[in-house]
């Protein structure tokens, strides 16, 4: 049986299979061309810039470019004893060039990051180097200050030779590379970033938990009430959802301040004394309360859409088979809502972990999250590479959750309103 006799031909004599494949390919291209403009736009304006953040976060070319000859001369140096004259001569040459370009200040700032004490000795070197004589630079430089004769400082310079560094990532975890190249933690009282990471996780976790505990009963009520009541109550969920984030944060600031409505109420019912009004804002409490209310709709909506599909007859069947309402709920209803719980919790957690505006306004010092630290370095210290590094660390975490979310729920199943 030859294959030719089996082949079905279209009217113009081309085998059907080939013709269909061609049509399929054309359809694929057509579909892709529709998506292409947006995809291209996002890749250029969004995906590449995130890649740019990655480059910035590991970029350490500055010193490498400032001392090219020194680093070349240092290649053979083992770092155990003071380097040879050759290195000193190269360093002198690089340094003179930097002074001419008025860039030696930048070098001192950069080297000071690696090891404290460079600032003053570079200033001193600049002053003295004007009177340097030709040759024997080792002696002359070492005579400027005793630190220049200390091998540790030369090792510190050598550590800045590579053009890329993971130092910003280590700094984000409160760690650094010490003189011997070992990765160690900073002293305990200076571990600010670890505290922030843990606090971010803690707040995101508890906000998600509170949201879940509050959203479950009302989603259930919304799903079981008759349409005309549930539509009305749904507005209570949707109105905050559509209202500006800043408006909602502002209302919490009014409610929670010391002379605010909540405190007035507490004093009014005699819960607290007028002169002992508790501080409920500019601390963790403020962040918890405001974020829970703001993220609650994101938990209610997925739960509601799952609960809506559960037939009430299932609970009745459970009860008629002898289960108490609690058993029927736990064995029948609850397992059916797990997809909604997963979707809601993951969404809440993802949103909470990257929150910025609300903690910045109501969180004070003890209620701010890692995002606030990123913004601080972007706007105040201008250490953009450090901000990028921390941003990417946060992003890795979020993308991991996003991946789980996609596996469990599927991104095409995200429901809005």
């Amino acid at each position: 049986m030859s294959s030719e006799t089996q082949q079905i031909l279209t009217t113009d004599g081309i085998p059907l299979e080939v013709s269909l494949k061609k049509a399929e390919r054309r359809n694929k291209i057509k579909a892709f061309l529709l998506v292409a403009p947006l995809l291209l736009f996002l890749i250029i304006t969004y995906v590449f810039p995130i890649g740019d953040m990655l480059l910035r976060s590991v970029d350490d070319k500055m010193v490498t470019e400032m001392l090219p000859k020194t680093f070349k001369a240092m290649e053979k140096w083992d770092g155990k004893e003071l380097p040879e004259e050759e290195v000193f001569a190269a360093f002198h040459e690089d340094f003179i060039k930097l002074v001419e370009e008025k860039r030696e200040g930048k070098l001192s700032t950069q080297l000071n990051y690696t090891k404290n004490g460079f600032k003053s000795i570079i200033k001193k070197l600049r002053r003295k180097s004007k009177n340097f004589e030709e040759g024997n630079y080792k002696e002359q430089i070492m005579a400027v200050h005793k630190r220049w004769a200390n091998v540790e400082y030369w090792n510190a310079i050598k550590r800045r030779a590579p053009a890329i560094t993971g130092q910003k990532y280590l700094k984000g975890m409160d760690m650094y590379k010490n003189e011997t190249g070992k990765i160690v933690s900073v002293s305990e009282d200076r571990r600010i970033h670890r505290i922030l990471w843990l606090r971010t996780l803690e707040i995101a976790f508890f906000v998600t938990l509170f949201c879940f505990l509050m959203a479950y009963p009302i989603a259930h009520l919304l799903a079981t009430l008759p349409m005309k009541y549930s539509n009305l109550l749904m507005i209570c969920v949707l109105l905050p959802f559509w209202t500006s984030l800043l408006v909602r944060t502002a209302s919490w600031m009014i409610l929670l301040q010391q002379q605010g409505v909540v405190n007035d109420f507490f004093v009014g019912i005699g819960l607290v004394a007028d002169d002992a009004r508790p501080e409920m804002m500019y601390n963790k409490t403020g962040t918890y309360v405001a974020m829970t209310q703001i993220l609650l709709p994101f938990m209610v909506l997925p739960l509601y859409s799952v609960m809506k599909t559960i037939s009430p007859s299932l609970m009745r069947a459970g009860k008629s088979l002898g289960g108490t309402p609690i058993v029927a709920f736990w064995k029948v209803y609850f397992p059916l809502t797990i997809p909604g719980i997963g979707a809601g919790c993951l969404l809440c957690f993802i949103l909470a972990i990257g929150y910025y505006i609300t903690p910045a306004l109501v969180g004070g010092a003890s209620g701010t999250l890692i995002s606030n630290q990123i913004a601080f370095h972007m706007k105040s210290t201008l250490d953009w590479s450090f901000a990028s590094a921390m941003g990417l660390m946060l992003l890795t975490g979020v993308l991991a959750i996003y991946w789980v979310y996609n596996k469990l729920v599927g991104i095409d199943n995200i429901k809005l309103g």
């Binding site: 399929e24 359809n27 694929k28 892709f32 529709l34 998506v35 403009p37 995809l39 736009f41 996002l42 890749i43 250029i44 304006t45 969004y46 995906v47 810039p49 995130i50 740019d52 953040m53 910035r56 009963p217 009302i218 109550l233 949707l238 109105l239 559509w242 209202t243 500006s244 800043l246 408006v247 502002a250 209302s251 009014i254 409610l255 002379q259 605010g260 007035d264 609650l296 709709p297 809506k308 972990i353 990257g354 910025y356 505006i357 306004l361 995002s371 990123i374 972007m378 901000a387 941003g391 990417l392 946060l394 992003l395 979020v398 996609n406 991104i411 095409d412 995200i414 809005l416 309103g417």
Partner: protein, 284 residues
């Protein structure tokens, strides 16, 4: 939710307890918004209820802060509102065009690598805003678009398109493709088919996606904080500065206006959703 007559006492108690819990949660959700209304009519400069307000004394209420919002001498709200609307309108148009076309492609069953492409298109919604802000700022600074309206509009298109893609693909998932084939078999070209057949049917989805994009842009503050110069100030930026520096009742007047605006948008979105479900023959 009336209980049957034979319900035992402890279930009855449990049931009312459950309703009480639900009531408290609804109160927690909605009450904060309603604190703003009365306080924005405060005649005093304080952000708490004065004794006069508690006793409903008419003298304790005034439109002072609304006047200040509109006529205030060094008030930035006029410029901010103008910028906000211009930026949001252009960002919405951009998001709707790019998003709808992309959603049409994504809904085709011939679309290759659907999962990964969808993940990329939705990512601006998932990635924390602060990271998007940093990345977009780096791009706009390099492209020379920082502190320009164009830059902010482009940034808001990035943030707005995921919403349009999601709502339009959702609408298209219930779309009966045989009607477009019918149109084609009757000699209509693809563009004509889209304008006359597909678009009217998916319009509710497109509009509600557009509303999301509009609200996203109108309410966005993190990215704008990185991008905006003094000339590009928006309502959210002014609110942010106001909330950080001096919490004046004028902010509450603005907030009240914003709540009214969001109520209007909510009503529109709900009506559209119901219309869309009716058009697609889904009865819930």
């Amino acid at each position: 939710m009336a209980l049957p007559k034979h319900t035992e006492l402890h279930y009855r108690i449990w049931h009312y307890f459950y309703l009480f819990i639900c009531g408290s949660v609804f109160f927690f959700l909605i009450a904060p918004l309603f604190v703003i209304f009365p306080l924005s009519f405060n005649a005093e400069e304080f952000l708490s209820f004065s004794d006069g307000m508690k006793s409903l004394d008419p003298d304790a209420f005034s439109l002072r802060w609304y006047k200040d919002m509109v006529y205030g001498t060094k008030n930035p709200w006029g410029l901010a509102a103008k910028n906000s609307f211009i930026i949001a309108i252009f960002a919405t148009i951009g998001s709707v065009l790019l998003g709808t076309v992309a959603a049409l492609g994504l809904s085709s069953r011939h679309m290759p690598y659907k999962g990964i492409i969808m993940a990329v298109l939705i990512s601006p919604m998932i990635v924390p805003l602060i990271i998007s802000g940093v990345a977009i700022f780096f791009f706009m600074a390099k492209a020379g678009l920082a502190a320009t309206h164009t830059g902010i509009v482009l940034a808001h298109i990035i943030l707005g398109t995921p919403f349009v893609v999601i709502t339009v693909t959702a609408t298209l998932s219930g779309f009966d493709h045989s009607v477009t084939r019918a149109a084609a078999s009757l000699g209509s070209n693809p563009v004509n088919t889209f304008m006359k057949i597909t678009l009217p049917l998916i319009l509710p989805g497109v509009i509600s996606g557009g509303l999301f994009a509009f609200v996203t842009s109108f309410d966005e503050v993190v990215v704008v904080l990185f991008l905006a110069g003094l000339e590009n100030t928006t309502i959210p930026i002014q609110m942010w500065t106001g909330l950080r520096e001096q919490l004046s009742p004028t902010i509450l007047a603005v907030a009240t206006c914003l709540i009214i605006l969001s109520t209007l948008i909510l009503v529109t979105a709900e009506l559209l959703r119901r219309r869309s479900e009716r058009l697609r023959g889904i009865n819930r």
